[in-house]
């Protein structure tokens, strides 16, 4: 055990954790909107919209996240049209490519979580709202969404943790996140176990915090 290496690498890894957290929060933020949009589309009676949303979630849940990042980072740069458009400003940065891939990926999973949450809402709640003369828009925002959020909290908590682990793939497109820096230290010092313990503990600590935060929210919004 090389304790000195563990102590020395800790601040470097902690710095890299900031990158990981930025990637995580931005992709979750965009992913939530994508997920909500596709969940609503999945519940649509229009067959084309419905099938499109289903295809989207099937595609993103059936392929590895690594393929998705590589298509966006290496693949899209190949298209002339994208390279000449304003999109290139974003798509030439590995940082934004990673966030786009993560957001689309977590969006697919989130849409499934939200869809099943919406579907488990008892019809009676909506009917009660209707019979009280509340407009269907307000029923959606004030009755369906709050119940769906509470229903989907445990599953969404798991998704956040999966996404936290997913951000490690950013290191494959040259980003120096926690895993990227850990790999760099391992390959320069050849002390994999020490670095794994430090980096792994940081990840576990974050998982622990997220897990408890979700538990706290679950208790708070219990009804």
């Amino acid at each position: 055990m090389d304790l000195e290496l563990m102590i020395n690498s800790f601040p470097k890894l902690l710095n890299a954790t900031v990158v990981t957290l930025k990637l995580l929060s931005l992709s979750l933020f965009f992913g939530l909107f994508i997920g909500l949009l596709f969940a609503v589309m999945r519940m649509s009676k229009n067959l084309i919209i419905n099938k499109f949303a289903y295809g989207y979630s099937y595609l993103f849940r059936g392929t590895p996240l690594l393929v998705q990042i590589f298509i966006i980072y290496f693949g899209f740069g190949q298209i002339e049209l994208i390279r000449e458009s304003f999109l290139w400003v974003i798509l030439k940065e590995p940082y934004w490519c990673a966030i786009i891939a993560f957001a689309l990926n977590t969006g697919a999973y989130t849409s499934e979580i939200l869809r099943s949450a919406f579907q488990t809402i008892k019809k009676g709640y909506i009917e009660a709202g209707k019979s009280l003369g509340i407009s269907s828009k307000i029923i959606f925002y004030k009755i369906q969404i709050p119940i769906a959020i509470r229903q989907s909290l445990p599953a969404y908590g798991n998704e956040i943790i999966l996404m936290l682990k997913g951000t490690s793939l950013a290191s494959t497109v040259t980003l120096m996140d926690l895993t990227g820096v850990a790999k760099y230290i391992i390959s320069t010092t050849f002390k994999p176990i020490e670095v794994f313990i430090v980096a792994g503990s940081i990840y576990l600590f974050m998982t622990f915090i997220i897990h408890n935060l979700i538990k706290f929210l679950e208790r708070k919004y219990n009804y």
Partner: protein
């Protein structure tokens, strides 16, 4: 389409063998995972607190740390660990382990953590009366497990195991970082030499979709088989 031709002109045969490699790694990893589950599920269900702790440590750490980090640990640390053990037996030469073994082992340990959770959940949801009835009838412990608990457990576990299989299959794409030529690595090589990454990575995505689709069909059949009589 010429890019996918078989033989020397295209990448068809290379990608075909790479797909077989992905399937081989996934199955090996899944089986290694079952071995780990076989060890850790009893630990998690044990009466003894210290054994529980070991079981919980395994599943919490593996499920809380990114797969890529675990793979790097095995990739960089694997041959070191083997050489350390070998040195205790007086063997000091450099040993290199094959990428297939390192990869399947790394993914297997990850897959095992998920399988352990599935088996634990399945056993816990079997009615206590089943165990008691078997005991009262004087059925031996291992027959009780194989003939009474296991068939009921499998019925409950198969839907969740199919999720574990999907996760394992997708995780194998990460071993490409160690140089094992599976779908992802082969696409990387092909994309590099033809300068057509969009086509090859999209094709890789199609191959993965095909694999998940076909395996789902197969698992559904198993599910029907094991839920007969219910």
């Amino acid at each position: 389409m010429e890019l996918l031709a078989f033989g020397k002109t295209g990448w068809g045969d290379e990608l075909f063998y790479a797909t077989l490699m992905t399937i081989a790694v996934s199955i090996t990893a899944m089986l290694i995972g079952f071995l780990f589950a076989l060890i850790f599920t009893p630990l998690k269900l044990s009466k003894y607190k210290s054994l529980n702790l070991i079981g919980n440590f395994y599943t919490t750490v593996i499920r809380g740390v990114p797969e890529l980090l675990v793979i790097y640990l095995f990739f960089f640390g694997g041959s070191g660990a083997i050489m350390f053990v070998a040195s205790m037996f007086g063997y000091y030469e450099y040993i290199e382990i094959n990428a297939f073994i390192t990869g399947s082992f790394a993914i297997g340990i990850i897959s095992g953590a998920y399988s352990t959770e599935v088996f634990r959940g399945a056993i816990q949801s079997i009615d206590k009366g089943q165990f008691e009835a078997a005991k009262v009838l004087g059925i031996k412990k291992y027959i009780q497990f194989y003939k009474i608990i296991l068939p009921q457990m499998l019925r409950l576990a198969i839907p969740n195991l199919s999720n574990v299989w999907q996760i394992t299959l997708k995780d194998t794409s990460l071993i490409s970082v160690t140089g094992l030529v599976e779908i992802m690595r082969q696409s990387y090589i092909a994309a590099g030499s033809t300068r057509d990454p969009l086509f090859f990575y999209s094709f890789a995505a199609v191959l993965y979709l095909l694999l998940t689709f076909l395996s789902m069909k197969l698992i559904n059949k198993l599910e029907i088989k094991y839920s007969r009589g219910f």
